[in-house]
């Protein structure tokens, strides 16, 4: 494996392997579904296997610009200053690992769920994976934008062809919402581009006179030179593009539709990876490049995040459809991620980044689980179920772990993320933390209530008496996720270590004086966990009493 | 001796009359004549300017415009005949198959 540190373009290989696989699949006869599935799984598996060593070869201590590793640079469109530039920091690394893992799980979990036009399905799934990994790797804005948009097309087809009843509506809504956001983002990118090079004479904006470039890292260096007023507008453009993707509160309406209508694997990918692109966009681009813009819009964004947390949780409470419930819970959880991020301190950001991963794992698992019963019963209405714990004990156990992880029970991953976010947020403003805590309680409420209605009580619906418990294949898709939940829950240190430098870098960019005012003192992991456990137990007790 | 601006006024008037005619008249032949009127208004303009500026370009252009106008008339009349063959009418309003 010497080539991981020898300048071998490993990121490109990981990015384009699924694409190559998709192209090769064109030559497989579409009747031969067995071969198609096997081949797609092999491609996704190889991709995952290739991405794992990144974790070991990544230098966690590298600070500043050196933390972007596995760099690849080549010229692409020199006349526009567009470079083919890849490179990842700790945040991107975790998200890539999440993507390749989820990609494999998505392919493997679709074996029986998808019964028509299978060849196209797996081709699109692999294409989607190339787009997603590309987004996380790209360090050139133009390249980033290309991947960002490329992703839309396969997802559109995945929802539109293999989705539920209202799939057309959901697919088009998803496509147009995201597209509308991203084209506005394109204008912001252009403004940055011109600021760096020739300027916009008409608006009396003097350029820096640098060679035309879309280099994200260069923008990181020059961003703070932009006048606060212009930063505000550029940030607003980015905000629209990313907030729709996240999705933040008023822009979230596409999400429930897309989630409910998408096939299971589509929902899994959507929740686990696609939503993270919005939050990733904020931490990679909007925050470090536009510190003044960030601070100007901090309060509105925090407000929207808190509204999102509470609103998402309340709407989840009243949902009758399991998938819709999980979808709205995503709105709430991503509110947390945004809130932690805009606390603008290392603690909040660390939690925020970790929570991105956690949400991907937990919510991905929940969607998979909902998909398992849906495949057998073809309904997702909560009222159709009840007492499943007796019929499907294994399934009930897995569901419980996923739900507990999602609501943030100690010793599972969600807790670490939410707790760290709360710490960071409380540092910034205690009242924000109070609102966030309300969200956590509500989160526990809707998930536990869901669990109670579906798994406990009498098994009185005859249709449920023939439900089969998870089979070996389904178990194989779920176990890695459960393992990750427990791993992050018990030993989050390697993850924090991975994102420490990037987070410090971002805080340094957004708030250059931060580390002078507050010397870095992270509570040791042990103390952190102890404090966390006790307070969370108290919260759980309170809920049980309620 | 009329002045340059008199000629320009004449041209502008003719052009406007032609334009209004195209908009208001429904008979294709009349419409065609109105278009010719507009083109000839332009010709007056061009010749006036040519005289005023002492450059020949305008007059050369006028000859081109007259030639093109002849071509336009030919094509226009051909279309009118075609329309009459199909509809037995050369009223613009009778052509209503395309709703736009």
């Amino acid at each position: 494996m010497g080539f991981y540190d020898s300048g071998f373009p490993i990121l490109s290989v990981i990015t384009y392997l699924p694409l190559a696989g998709a192209l090769l699949m064109l030559f497989i006869n579409k009747e031969n579904t067995g071969a198609i599935k096997t081949f797609a799984t092999i491609v996704a598996a190889v991709d995952f296997v290739l991405s794992v060593p990144l974790w070991f070869y990544f230098d966690r201590k590298a600070a500043g610009l050196a933390m972007f590793q596995f760099r690849e640079t080549a010229s692409w469109i020199p006349s526009l200053g567009v470079k083919y530039s890849f490179g990842i920091d700790g945040i991107a690394l975790l998200l890539i690992l999440l993507t390749t893992m989820m990609g494999l799980i998505a392919v493997y979990s679709s074996y029986t769920a998808i019964d028509h036009r299978q060849k196209e399905y797996y081709i699109l799934l692999l294409l989607l994976q190339t787009g997603m990994i590309g987004v996380f790797c790209a360090l050139d804005f133009f390249l980033f934008y290309v991947f960002w948009e490329v992703m839309l097309v396969p997802m559109y087809f995945l929802i539109g062809i293999w989705g539920g009843q209202r799939r057309l509506y959901a697919a088009i809504k998803f496509f147009l919402y995201t597209l509308a956001g991203s084209v506005v983002m394109l204008l912001s990118i252009l403004a940055l581009y011109f600021f760096n090079s020739s300027g916009i004479p008409f608006l009396n904006i003097k350029g820096l006179g640098n060679a035309p470039s879309f280099d994200v890292l260069q923008f990181h260096q020059i961003g703070h030179l932009i006048s606060p007023q212009l930063q505000f507008w550029i940030f607003l453009g980015f905000f629209l593009g990313f907030a729709i993707k996240v999705p933040m509160f008023p822009f979230h309406t596409w999400l429930p539709d897309a989630h409910v209508e998408a096939p299971t694997a589509g929902s899994v990918i959507l929740a686990a990876v696609l939503l993270k692109m919005g939050t990733y966009g904020f931490v990679r681009f909007a925050l470090p490049i536009l510190p003044d813009g960030t601070r100007q819009l901090m309060i509105p964004i925090v407000t929207l995040s808190i509204i999102g947390i509470i609103y998402g949780a309340l709407v989840s409470l009243v949902q009758k459809d399991m998938k819709k419930l999980v979808a709205y819970s995503s709105v709430s959880h991503l509110g947390f991620v945004m809130l932690g991020m805009f606390a603008l301190n290392p603690m909040g950001l660390r939690g925020s980044v970790l929570q991105m991963i956690n949400h991907g794992i937990s919510t991905g698992a929940l969607f998979l689980l909902v998909g398992i019963v849906y495949e057998q019963r073809h309904t997702r209405l909560i009222s159709e179920y009840g007492g499943l714990a007796k019929q499907m004990p294994m399934y009930a156990t897995l569901f419980l772990i996923a739900a507990l992880s999602s609501m943030g029970l100690p010793a599972l991953n969600g807790f670490i993320g939410e707790f760290t976010i709360l710490l960071g947020v409380a540092n910034a403003n205690i009242w924000w933390a109070v609102f966030a805590a309300v969200g956590i309680v509500l989160g526990a409420a809707y998930l536990l209530w869901l669990y109670q209605r579906v798994f406990w009580g009498p098994l009185d619906n005859p249709a449920n008496k023939v439900l089969k418990d998870v089979n070996k294949r389904e178990l194989l898709t779920l176990l890695p996720l459960v393992a990750c939940m427990i791993w992050i829950g018990i030993a989050p240190a390697p993850f924090f270590e991975m994102i420490e430098q990037p987070v410090d870098y971002i805080v340094q960019k957004v708030d250059p004086g931060y580390f002078k005012r507050q010397p870095v003192t992270y509570p040791s992991e042990a103390a952190e966990r102890a404090a966390a456990v006790s307070s969370a137990l108290a919260a759980i007790q309170a809920e049980v009493h309620r | 001796m009329p002045s340059t601006s008199d000629f320009l006024m004449l041209s502008a008037t003719l052009f406007t009359v032609g334009l209004i005619g195209v908009i208001l008249r429904r008979n294709m032949i009349t419409v065609l004549m109105c278009i010719e009127l507009m083109l000839n208004a332009v010709n007056i303009n061009l010749v006036t300017f040519s005289h005023m500026l002492g450059s020949l370009e305008g007059q050369i252009f006028t000859i081109f415009v007259i030639t093109v106008a002849a071509g336009e008339a030919a094509v226009g009349l051909a279309i009118i005949i075609q329309l009459y063959r199909l509809k037995s009418s050369i009223n613009v309003d009778d052509a209503r198959n395309l709703n736009g």
Binding site: I77, S79, L168, L176, L179, V184, L187 | E57, I79, Q82
Partner: protein
């Protein structure tokens, strides 16, 4: 006019001579051999293309007479567009094959008119005097009027020809009136002389009126709002290959003129006219896209889409900077190929005159013609400006030009409207891939297949490796931009 000048005119001369020969052939007894017309036409296109390329080498060596120089330029800009035109006409020839054999219309005259149109377009691209430009424009227009009415026995086609004719001639009269005023104020028809005269002049009403009338005439040709009313009717009524031609070649030629006239002659009054054009561009994008959403006839939808694309392209003229001119060139090219590909698919479905034009006819196309359906998706994405298709590169240039020129609001309108446009482009995608059904029968002839494949190749290659075309475009436009920068 010397022999040397004639050498530079060779492409136009070949096109005109070829067109005349094609016209005579049926009289000489060639009517029976209609199927040969296509090959004769393609051969003519090949020779013309060679002559165009040859003329670029000749231009360095020959001594041009001053009068000739003042009327006609063989420069990189004109060569770019001429080659594009030749390719468009060749592809339209291929598109026309089935239509002509099915409807039993005389083929030789049809191709002859196309060749005359090409001749006119080439004069438009090369014209550096308003006289040359006008003559080229009229040659193109007169040929188009007849071609639009080529379905002699269909009322729709004749009506389309009539509407196109009336509005077209009125618009050229308006354009002419504008030219006459500009001539009166500046004392010349030559673009560079006009520019020189304007640079020493203060804004005056007669001149602005002239420029506006000229712009109005050109806006008619590119089908920008509010001069667009003819477009949907003509696209629907005209024979489909001619609609394809009008929406691509004819429009590209008008843009060549628009770009050259405004970039060379009127940079001095940019501030005065740019806001008016900006309003026209914004209206075109908004009206075109919103109207397209409600259409069920694909031809009509494409007509409105082409109106909106006129709006996008206008950004390049309004911006009046390097980026903008490059944007016009590259966008025109990108748009032409995506559109021709789409028309090829429509023609594939289009049997028996006007059948097969509604969105329903596309249902389940992915099963009946997977390649056509896939290509169609790529073309639609390209029109919508989604990377990695060529359309994104084109739109990138135009949007960037608008931002750089400080027309932020216009850029916002443009990006929002290009997102809206995906709404109706996706309708076709939905019909092809997401809805099942029999739809119209398909007959995919080798010619149509070739047009689709070529357009697809261009659309993808420009999307993935844009460096080469961008360089070409920079080379083809830099000598015009030079003047703007000097300003």
């Amino acid at each position: 006019m010397t022999w040397a000048d004639t050498l530079l005119l060779l492409p136009e001369l070949i096109a005109a001579t070829g067109a005349s020969i094609l016209l005579i052939v049926p009289v000489l007894g060639g009517r029976a051999r209609g199927h040969m017309a296509k090959w004769a036409m393609l051969a003519l296109m090949a020779v013309t293309a060679l002559a165009v390329i040859g003329s670029t080498y000749a231009v360095a060596g020959v001594q041009q007479t001053p009068t000739f120089r003042a009327m006609f330029a063989v420069d990189a800009f004109s060569v770019f567009f001429k080659l594009l035109f030749v390719v468009v006409i060749a592809l339209v020839t291929l598109l026309s094959e089935d239509f002509l054999s099915e409807e039993r219309y005389s083929t030789w005259e049809y191709y002859s008119l196309l060749a005359f149109a090409l001749c006119g377009m080439m004069f438009m691209a090369s014209g550096v005097s308003l006289i040359t430009i006008y003559i080229g424009l009229e040659l193109l227009a007169l040929s188009s009027y007849i071609l639009a009415g080529y379905y002699k026995n269909h009322e729709e086609s004749t009506e389309a020809a009539m509407k196109y004719f009336i509005l077209g001639t009125v618009s050229s009269a308006i354009l002419l009136y504008g030219i006459s005023l500009i001539y009166g104020v500046c004392g010349s028809m030559r673009l560079s002389t006009i520019a020189a005269a304007l640079s020493t002049m203060l804004s005056n009403d007669a001149l602005m009126f002239g420029i506006m009338l000229l712009a109005a005439g050109l806006c008619f040709k590119i089908a920008a709002v509010p001069f667009h009313v003819w477009t949907p009717d003509v696209y629907v009524g005209a024979p489909t290959p001619i609609s394809a031609f009008l929406s691509t070649g004819s429009k590209a030629a008008a843009f060549a003129v628009f770009a050259r006239v405004f970039y060379v002659a009127f940079p001095a009054f940019h501030l005065d006219w740019s806001n008016v054009l900006a309003a026209i561009a914004a209206l075109s994008m908004i009206v075109g896209n919103l109207a397209a959403i409600t259409q069920t006839n694909v031809k009509r939808m494409l007509a409105y889409s082409s109106i909106s694309h006129a709006g996008y392209s206008l950004l390049g003229i309004i911006a009046m900077n390097e980026m903008g001119l490059r944007g016009i060139l590259i966008y025109t090219m990108v748009y032409v190929f995506a559109n021709l590909g789409i028309w090829a698919t429509i023609l594939m479905l289009r049997r028996h005159a006007y059948a097969g034009e509604s969105v329903e006819d596309f249902r389940g196309l992915h099963k009946r013609a997977p390649f056509a359906a896939f290509s169609m998706v790529v073309f639609l994405l390209s029109l919508g400006g989604i990377p990695p298709t060529a359309g994104f590169i084109g739109k990138y240039f135009l949007f960037a030009a608008a931002v750089q020129a400080g027309f932020g609001w216009l850029a916002i309108v443009a990006v929002v409207m290009s997102a809206v446009s995906m709404f109706y482009y996706l309708r076709l995608v939905v019909a092809m891939y997401l809805e099942e059904g029999s739809g119209a029968e398909t007959i995919y002839s080798p010619s149509l297949r070739f047009v689709t494949a070529l357009s697809l190749t261009v659309t993808l290659v420009v999307g993935f490796i844009p460096e080469l075309p961008i360089r070409q475009v920079i080379e083809s436009s830099s000598h015009l931009v030079g003047r703007v920068v000097q300003r």
